[in-house]
């Protein structure tokens, strides 16, 4: 157990360094969402409540988390393509140690994302500061785990050339199906039902609702939480199974 933990930490540190030293990952996970938060607020906040900071900041946090699937996936796909992982398979590290190390190495970036986007949002509109914001920062870790799980899964099955295109579907899913950029009231019922069944809108609602107050604890908190957690668990379980298969090919 102690050795397993030690190996996971060693792998995590290496993964974290690799991600941190890729300037593109910082541009996409921090720079671009921050620019969008500021830009969209100043252009649209007087036109629609969608872009008031109390909705925009938590929405941007979850949107930025969707980029994590790309960067975790890319790191794994590159590690696979260069035989780096094959070499590590000969070490005593177990599949779940690899998976947890990839996941843990992203958590500091998740925390930085949350703090940055909420703080900048708070500087622009100080009304969002409060206990709700602290709770939103904490709860935003849950959707990030979903995106990390998806990233690990994609990195395990895609190569370094296809990972960009495939993970952009996930990012587009978060962008379009989260309902954060447009009001969903006028949408077709079937589309709304699809949005409710997928994790994207639930992830955004989870963080937005915890920040702005919960009226119906089941509808506003428990249900979105269960849906996001279910997708997270499934993505991790499938990722571990496929990763194990890749480790020892049959």
């Amino acid at each position: 157990m102690k050795k397993s933990l030690s190996r996971t930490i060693i792998l995590t540190k290496r993964n974290f360094k690799e991600i941190l030293r890729d300037p593109l990952s910082l541009v996409f996970t921090l720079g671009m969402p921050l620019f969008m938060e500021i830009l969209f607020y100043f252009i649209f906040h007087n036109l629609t409540s969608q872009f008031e900071m109390k909705y925009l900041a938590p929405g941007i946090v979850v949107f930025a988390e969707s980029f994590l699937s790309l960067f975790v996936g890319l790191l794994i796909a590159l590690d696979r393509s260069t035989s780096f992982l094959t070499r590590l398979y000969v070490s005593k590290a177990k599949p779940y140690e690899f998976i947890f190390s990839y996941a843990l190495s992203i958590v500091p970036i998740v925390i930085i994302q949350s703090l940055l986007f909420f703080l900048v949002g708070g500087i622009i509109d100080s009304s969002i500061f409060g206990i709700g914001m602290i709770l939103a920062i904490l709860i935003s870790i849950i959707p990030s785990l979903f995106y990390i799980g998806i990233g690990i899964l994609l990195g395990t099955i895609c190569n370094e050339k296809s990972i960009g295109g495939i993970s952009s579907i996930v990012i587009a899913g978060q962008s379009v199906l989260s309902g954060m950029w447009f009001p969903i009231e006028g949408l077709n019922e079937g589309i709304v039902a699809l949005m409710d069944a997928l994790p994207f809108r639930n992830a955004t609602r989870l963080v937005q609702n915890i920040m702005n107050g919960i009226n119906d604890s089941f509808q506003d908190f428990i249900l979105p939480l269960i849906i996001v957690l279910a997708y997270t668990v499934v993505s991790f379980v499938v990722a571990i199974i496929l990763f194990r298969r890749k480790m020892v090919s049959k």
Binding site: K3, S6, R7, I10, L11, K13, R14, K17, E18, R21, D22, L78, S81, T82, S83, F84, T86, R87, L88, Y89, V90, S91, K92, A93, M247, V248, S249, K250
Partner: protein
């Protein structure tokens, strides 16, 4: 202790014993009923054209691929049942360079040393030893991705030695390197001879000739020849490994 059954009379410790090892990919036979013994401290080269089954053999021995049939014992540990025990005594350098790209050379060394469970004192000793053997001092602070292909390959092989393996698998170690980088790597590999058992796969006949204690020639998953260079020359009536290799794999047709 085991008698070297190749018949040169020396008593040598057996490192690997392969029994009827077979690997099928759907209906393609990658390795066909392979039987072979490799002894401690020897450098054994597996030669073969593309698709001969060299890499699959190495992957099975390194527990990276499950055989379809047969088994192999590495110091009496079964590749089917004793994966963890085998991982304690082997390391591998694959065809492609296997390094952490964004880490410096030093960080790569420390990372692998830590992962193999070394203490702080052992890590310092490993670093010194590896740097000396592979002359890595001059690039120690450089990011691995910024090294030339030759240096990256050198680092990749160096990393496989950090865990002090008793058996080292080198899969096409000089593939794609220029002639100088290749010769430098030969020198390094030659210095490792006798200190550990090395199983090397290569396409380069002169590489096998320069480095090997014994040679195995594979074709279509079958082992067609095992022996020393001298035995190979005697069998084929040729004077170099390349001609002898062609004679064996073509059955004298070329």
């Amino acid at each position: 202790m085991f008698k070297n059954t190749e018949g040169n009379g020396f008593i040598m410790e057996r490192a690997i014993k392969i029994n009827n090892l077979t690997k099928l990919y759907k209906d393609v036979i990658a390795v066909d009923n392979l039987n072979l013994e490799i002894y401690e401290g020897e450098l054994f080269s597996l030669l073969g054209v593309n698709g001969a089954g060299k890499t699959t053999t190495i992957k099975m021995l390194a527990t990276l691929t499950r055989p379809t049939n047969g088994d192999a014992a590495i110091f009496d540990y079964s590749i089917l049942k004793d994966e963890d025990k085998i991982k304690e005594v082997i390391d591998i350098s694959m065809q492609e360079t296997a390094i952490a790209r964004k880490l410096t050379v030093e960080e790569n060394i420390v990372f692998y040393a830590k992962l193999s469970g070394q203490t702080d004192e052992e890590i310092i000793a490993s670093k010194e030893k590896i740097c000396k053997s592979f002359e890595l001092d001059k690039v120690l602070k450089k990011q691995a991705s910024k090294l030339s292909g030759g240096w990256q390959r050198k680092l990749s092989i160096a990393l496989a030695l950090i865990s002090n393996p008793k058996i080292l698998f080198l899969d096409e170690p000089t593939l794609g390197l220029d002639v100088l980088a290749r010769r430098e790597l030969w020198k390094t590999i030659n210095e490792l001879k006798g200190k550990m058992t090395i199983i090397l796969t290569t396409h380069y006949m002169e590489e096998a000739e320069a480095l090997s204690d014994r040679i195995g020639i594979m074709k279509d998953g079958k082992l067609l020849f095992v022996g020393t260079k001298e035995e190979l020359f005697l069998k084929t009536n040729k004077e170099n490994v390349e001609d002898a290799f062609i004679e064996i794999v073509s059955g004298g047709a070329l």
